[in-house]
């Protein structure tokens, strides 16, 4: 099968298309093109060799500015100003054969105390993509290496500011456990199928997640002295999505089963036998109209933490996260967004009274839930540059970073976030 090269003129989108595929149909010519001369052809051959269409680069960059009351986000933002969120990524892909591509993306990220001031460089993804079956209606293939997890509408591109509507992702994308769900080291089976009623896409990721994350561990044991780390056991993440042609309506069902066990540093480590098992699904629905957009996602997560340590009972909690979001496009490049977002850590302890009592007041009740009302404005100055601003009225503190807010007794229940972000992509 021929590989098609598609090109696009800056700033301009479909109006009409020059395609050779319609030649078979009845055509009426308006103008006859002179075939290029032999000499012109030779000249072009030289140019063609230097213009590699089989290697592609893309990159993105974003910088955020935050000011909050009550709690810190991305560094010391409380009653102050923090520029503690920077994200920068670069990817390259090489199409070795018609059905074989190699691709890699590096990510630089600064996110408050979690990464420290210097930030962190990680290998975001690196995989080969082997297309096993490529038909007009669909394709089936496998990918191997480090692969982003298809979870909800935004997880695969959660660090690319351009691809989601607000600076802060909805609470369902739980920033504190981002590393867990980010990617697997393993394999993916994917299948796409186009029908007259829309486009179906299926992905199944199997492998090992990145469980070695201080933020996740601290949130689970509530003990800053913990010395070991979590290591992933085999896990999987899968998604089935359906969209009408062009993505006017998008629906998706995602499911993840993440398993990990604690690796002790010393033999007398009280957590030595601890294991954690997370099962979660997310339902997503999105409407993209000319002026209005609506998005809603609903997620339940079963958190099972066993053999925490002597005298501490196993923990089974079901977390619930959902949001509804409306967007209005004043212009093609100017959009306002309003969102109501909710996260409950444990449905059996919705208001956190239980966790507060059990911890002897150490963990305040309002760390068990968050309701967030968000209003944002986004201006896409050019296809490459974007700025946006948003305001959050937050009730509860379930989603704050414990590394940015180490003193639990000072965690505020009602607070505000003002945020500004500038982003670039190519």
């Amino acid at each position: 099968m021929n590989r098609f090269i598609t090109l696009m003129l800056t700033n301009i989108f479909i109006a009409f298309l020059l395609s050779f595929s319609v030649c078979a149909q009845e055509i009426s010519s308006e103008l006859i093109m002179d075939p290029p001369t032999q000499e012109e052809n030779k000249l072009w051959e030289g140019v063609k060799r230097t213009w590699r269409d089989d290697i592609q680069f893309h990159g993105f960059l974003s910088q955020g500015l935050f000011s909050t009351s009550g709690n810190n986000v991305y560094g010391q933002s409380k009653d102050s100003l923090s520029a503690g969120s920077t994200e920068m990524g670069l990817n390259v892909s090489y199409q070795a054969l018609n059905n074989l591509t190699f691709t890699v993306q590096g990510l630089y990220r600064r996110a408050g105390a979690i990464t420290g001031d210097a930030g962190e460089v990680t290998l975001d993804f690196a995989f080969f993509d082997l297309n096993l079956l490529n038909l007009q209606e669909g394709r089936i293939g496998v990918r191997g290496g480090r692969i982003k997890n298809p979870w909800g509408l935004y997880n695969e591109t959660r660090d690319v500011a351009f691809t989601h509507p607000t600076i802060f992702l909805p609470l369902a994308y739980f920033e504190r456990s981002r590393t867990l769900l980010l990617a697997v080291d393993g394999g993916q089976l994917y299948a796409d199928y186009s029908t007259s009623i829309g486009y179906f896409s299926f992905k199944f990721n199997y492998g090992w997640v990145n469980a070695n994350d201080k933020e996740v561990l601290t949130a689970i044991v509530n003990d800053p002295t913990v010395s070991g780390h979590f290591e992933s056991d085999p896990s999987f993440v899968t998604q089935l999505s359906y969209e009408t042609m062009g993505g006017e309506y998008v629906f998706a069902l995602s499911y993840a089963d993440l398993n990990m066990s604690y690796q002790a540093k010393s033999t007398d480590d009280p957590y030595a036998q601890m294991g954690a098992d997370f099962n979660t699904f997310m339902l997503s629905a999105q409407y993209n109209g000319e002026k209005f957009s609506f998005v809603s996602e609903y997620s339940l997560k079963w958190n099972e933490i066993t053999d925490i340590r002597m005298g501490v009972p196993d923990s089974f909690a079901v977390s619930e996260r959902w949001y509804v979001q409306a967007g209005y496009r004043f212009l093609d490049n100017l959009q306002a967004t309003l969102r109501y977002d909710s996260a409950i850590q444990n449905l059996k302890d919705r208001y956190g009274k239980g966790v507060e009592a059990k911890s002897g007041g150490l963990i305040p009740a309002h760390m068990a839930f968050t309701q967030d009302l968000v209003f944002g404005l986004r201006w896409d100055i050019t296809p490459s540059w974007m700025v946006r601003a948003e305001y959050h009225r937050v009730h509860g503190a379930a989603t704050i970073s414990l590394l940015d807010n180490p003193d639990l007794s000072k965690v505020a229940k009602d607070w505000n976030i003002y945020a500004l972000q500038i982003a670039f992509r190519f």
């Binding site: 021929n2 098609f4 090269i5 598609t6 090109l7 696009m8 003129l9 800056t10 301009i12 989108f13 479909i14 109006a15 009409f16 298309l17 020059l18 395609s19 050779f20 319609v22 149909q25 009845e26 055509i27 009426s28 010519s29 308006e30 103008l31 006859i32 093109m33 002179d34 290029p36 052809n41 072009w44 063609k48 269409d53 592609q56 893309h58 990524g89 990817n91 892909s93 199409q95 591509t101 691709t103 993306q105 993804f125 993509d129 982003k148 695969e156 591109t157 690319v160 351009f162 691809t163 994917y190 042609m245 062009g246 993505g247 006017e248 993209n288 093609d332 896409d380 296809p383 992509r425």
Partner: protein, 60 residues
């Protein structure tokens, strides 16, 4: 399809590498050059351009 839907789709492709988004060219002259000289090239433009090298046809 609205322009932002196309941007959404192509941005997702560019940053998950699920496919190759279209290459962007800087001028109409470059577009004409590439469409004419590369095998299997398809170009998207915003309006009808008159150029003696262009062959127009309508499909029925």
């Amino acid at each position: 399809m609205f322009p932002y839907q196309l941007r959404r789709t192509w941005n997702k492709m560019a940053y998950t590498r699920a496919g190759q988004p279209p290459a962007t060219v800087a001028s109409m002259a470059e577009m004409l050059d590439k469409v004419q000289h590369m095998d299997n090239a398809i170009g998207y433009i915003d309006r009808r351009v008159e150029d003696e090298s262009i062959y127009y046809f309508n499909a029925h």
